[in-house]
């Protein structure tokens, strides 16, 4: 790997190597820029470091404590925050549906939420490119959204028990289903600059890290590509300060590595630390916030799960967890809410299921142990729906210090009327599907997934933190590329769109700095 000295002025520093950082890093490196990525987490070797064990894999989660406030406090850690070279993609489930064109114009269509300052047409070419590069497995044609210009790189992954049950229930109710698009390989795959990756072993462990590189986390895709093109990855480097020079530009980034404070000089900074940490860094440093919008508009997808027990052996630890999808509820007829949601079948690892059962059903004693013994017979469905931005949902710095001595972030989250109505709608449909599929002991686990917002993009510097290219309105050499810039939540899982925006931001930057 190419390395740079801290005294050298590198072209760009990329802070964070998740879905927003890694693709951009590779793009800038390919253009010949001297780029250094500063990543707080470790650089793992999945084969030797990853166990097929949830407890051991807790090391992939961001565990600096955050304070969850509001009526629907968001769980962090295992629920939505990763760390390590690859960021949260180390433990994402690998669902990679595309957003649909109308997702980008909620306000136009419903009079609530926000329109994006750019449309589907600007994102679509990147969807195509990323799906091919990552080797996304999915059906062609795909039944929903505009006709695809290109087939998915690989055919769909095999369907597990939960997926079969969802197909069965939906068929009964006349709901269309399809194998889902997943960022895991249904066959071995080779990409220049990355090398060969093997097919998925159906071990259902995506949320605790893939030990064979079948899942397209960033550490086995865009990171090796970035290194191939000359980027340096500096792991275990926790950024604390961005230093401005007299011209108002950021000239230096301060970080802690092995307990030692270091500085790297640079021309441009790309902040890709994720929704919570990006906003926290800006607030800590008092940067980029002339709009007063940093930390505002926190969103989290309604993600209600419905679980049931079936007579059949399901063994929910096998197969890609999200095998089957339906987007029939993307814009449900006669809905009493704005936007919509998608339905996904879910497999589940044992600890995740047991702790959810403890929290969601409150079971204990012999009752708990008996319900736990039904684990091999459980299957779930969940939704992933749009969430509106609200003034009452935001992030602030608290007075409490974390283990690094920095103020803990406090995140307020309360579902609004729209999310509640959507969830009620979905609760009914999913219970109907599970009843039709033959489920017993059905129970609901209410949740919100994916933290989005805090540094919204827009065209107006008074109401947005960055422009549509991801560039700060206040500091011209600062860009943001991660889940924080989404003006609205979209009704699909975010990672594919974060990557698409990242490549777009990189391309726009490169065009303007030829």
């Amino acid at each position: 790997m190419q390395t740079y000295s801290t005294t050298e002025i590198v072209d760009a520093i990329v802070i964070g190597t998740g879905a927003g950082g890694a693709p951009l890093l590779a793009r800038l490196a390919r253009a010949g820029l001297k780029v250094v990525a500063l990543e707080a987490g470790k650089h793992w070797n999945p084969i030797t470091d990853f166990a097929t064990d949830e407890k051991e894999q807790e090391k992939l989660f961001w565990t600096d404590e955050r304070l969850s406030a509001g009526n629907d406090p968001l769980p962090f850690g295992s629920n939505n925050s990763g760390t390590g070279v690859g960021g949260s993609t180390l433990h994402y489930t690998a669902y990679t549906p595309r957003a649909q064109p109308d997702d980008f114009q909620l306000r136009t269509d419903f009079g609530v939420g926000e329109d994006w300052p750019l449309g589907f047409d600007q994102i679509e070419p990147y969807y195509n490119e990323i799906e091919q590069f990552l080797g996304i497995s999915g059906p062609s044609p795909y039944p929903w959204g505009p006709a695809r210009k290109q087939k998915y790189a690989l055919g769909p992954l095999p369907v597990n028990g939960a997926g079969q049950l969802m197909e069965r229930g939906c068929k009964e109710l006349g709901i269309k289903t399809s194998p889902a698009a997943n960022a895991a390989l249904s066959a071995g795959y080779y990409q220049e600059g990355v090398g060969h990756r093997p097919a998925c072993a159906n071990r259902g462990f995506c949320q605790a890290g893939c030990n064979i590189g079948a899942k397209a986390s960033m550490d086995v895709t865009y990171i090796p590509l970035a290194v191939h093109f000359g980027a340096e990855i500096r792991s275990e480097s926790f950024v604390t300060q961005l230093i401005k020079d007299s011209s108002g530009k950021i000239s230096e980034v301060v970080y802690i590595q092995n307990g030692e404070e270091k500085r790297q000089r640079c021309r441009y900074v790309f902040l890709c630390a994720g929704t919570v940490e990006t906003a926290r860094l800006l607030l800590l440093n008092g940067l980029g916030n002339s709009s007063g919008q940093v930390g505002r508009n926190v969103m989290a997808h309604p993600g209600l799960q419905i679980w049931g027990e079936f007579d059949e052996d399901v063994r929910p630890y096998k197969g890609i967890p999200g095998a089957i999808i339906s987007e029939d509820t993307h814009r449900p007829a006669n809905a009493d809410f704005a936007g919509g949601y998608l339905l996904q079948s879910i497999g589940v690892m044992p600890l995740t299921y047991m702790t959810q059962m403890a929290r969601g059903r409150g079971l204990w004693g012999e009752e708990l142990k008996q319900a736990a013994r039904a684990y091999n017979h459980v299957a779930g469905i969940n939704i992933l729906g749009d969430c509106l931005p609200y003034a009452h949902n935001y992030l602030e710095l608290s007075d409490e210090k974390d283990i690094r001595g920095l103020p803990k972030p406090r995140i307020y989250f309360t579902n609004g009327e729209n999310e509640k109505r959507m969830t009620a709608h979905a609760n009914k449909i999913m219970r109907d599907i599970w009843a039709a599929a033959g489920a017993k002991n059905v129970w609901a686990f209410p949740r919100n997934a994916h933290v989005i917002g805090t540094c919204r993009m827009g065209v107006n510097p008074d109401t947005a933190v960055v422009n549509p290219d991801g560039q700060s309105f206040d500091i011209p050499n600062l860009y943001i590329s991660d889940n924080s810039t989404f003006p609205s939540a979209l009704s699909v899982n975010p990672a594919l769109t974060i990557m698409a925006l990242a490549l777009r931001t990189a391309d726009r930057f490169l065009e303007q700095h030829k």
Binding site: T48, D49, F50, A51, T52, D53, E54, K55, E56, E58, F61, W62, T63, E65, R66, L67, S68, A69, P73, L74, P75, G77, S81, V159, N160, G161, Q164, L165, A201, N202, R203, G204, F205, D311, E312, D313, V314, R315, Y317, G319, P350, L351, M354, T355, M357, A358, R359, G362, W364, G365, L368, K369, Q370, A372, R373, A374, Y375, N376, H377, K440
Partner: protein, 201 residues
């Protein structure tokens, strides 16, 4: 439906090459871990916590007990977090100490005895009252009883079911993934996946 799985499955698989090295290492360590004296909790708090956990997750097989409380003590000693906490709750360690105090206080108020001296039924009555925010005592004015109970239960459950013996109990063998899983549809089992043996207790 009551399912019941044979003992020994995970332990047998750990001896084979169907488990990766890092997986074997993590699970074997857990299997062999010995119970230590508490560091974070006082001896009294620790034995109260044990009594509470015994009701939350009863363990009938005394020779093969899974050490839940030792795991909690270790985490709090190392000041580790799971990445978040309810804003209404004090720091994890303080919440535990306060909650344990509250449980004893409720037992005194309702049964005039400490929690560990009352019957199992009475203990369950207290715990149910804590879970549903109906337990008496000043402590629960300071601490959200339902949240405390939820957090305690979630940690106890996650510690317990991460243990190979508990995984045998639920018939889980997902750690044996080296040969890959090919039979993944409904009612399709690989040879290494145990079947439920009858209806159990």
């Amino acid at each position: 439906m009551n399912y019941h799985y044979p003992a020994g499955t995970v332990r047998a698989l750990l001896e084979t090459d169907q488990v990766t090295k890092p997986t074997r290492q993590a699970l074997t360590e857990r299997l062999k871990a010995s119970s230590d004296q508490p560091v974070f909790f006082s001896t009294e708090e620790f034995s109260l916590l044990q009594a509470v956990c015994d009701r939350l997750i009863p363990q009938n097989n005394q020779s093969e007990r899974i050490d839940i409380t030792g795991g909690i003590d270790k985490r709090l000693t190392e000041n580790k977090s799971d990445g978040w906490r309810y804003d209404v709750m004090p720091a994890d360690g303080d919440a535990y100490k306060l909650g344990l105090k509250g449980i004893d206080e409720s037992a005194q108020l309702l049964f005039q005895q400490p929690f560990q001296n009352i019957s199992a039924e009475q203990q369950d009555f207290i715990l149910k009252a804590v879970q549903t925010r109906q337990a008496p005592g000043d402590t629960w004015q300071e601490l959200a009883a339902d949240r405390f109970f939820e957090e305690l239960l979630a940690e106890a459950v996650s510690t317990y079911y991460s243990h190979p013996l508990a995984q045998e109990d639920i018939g889980y063998v997902g750690m044996a993934d080296v040969p890959t899983w090919q039979r993944i549809g409904l009612n399709q089992l690989e040879d290494r996946e145990p079947k439920s043996i009858g209806q159990g207790e």
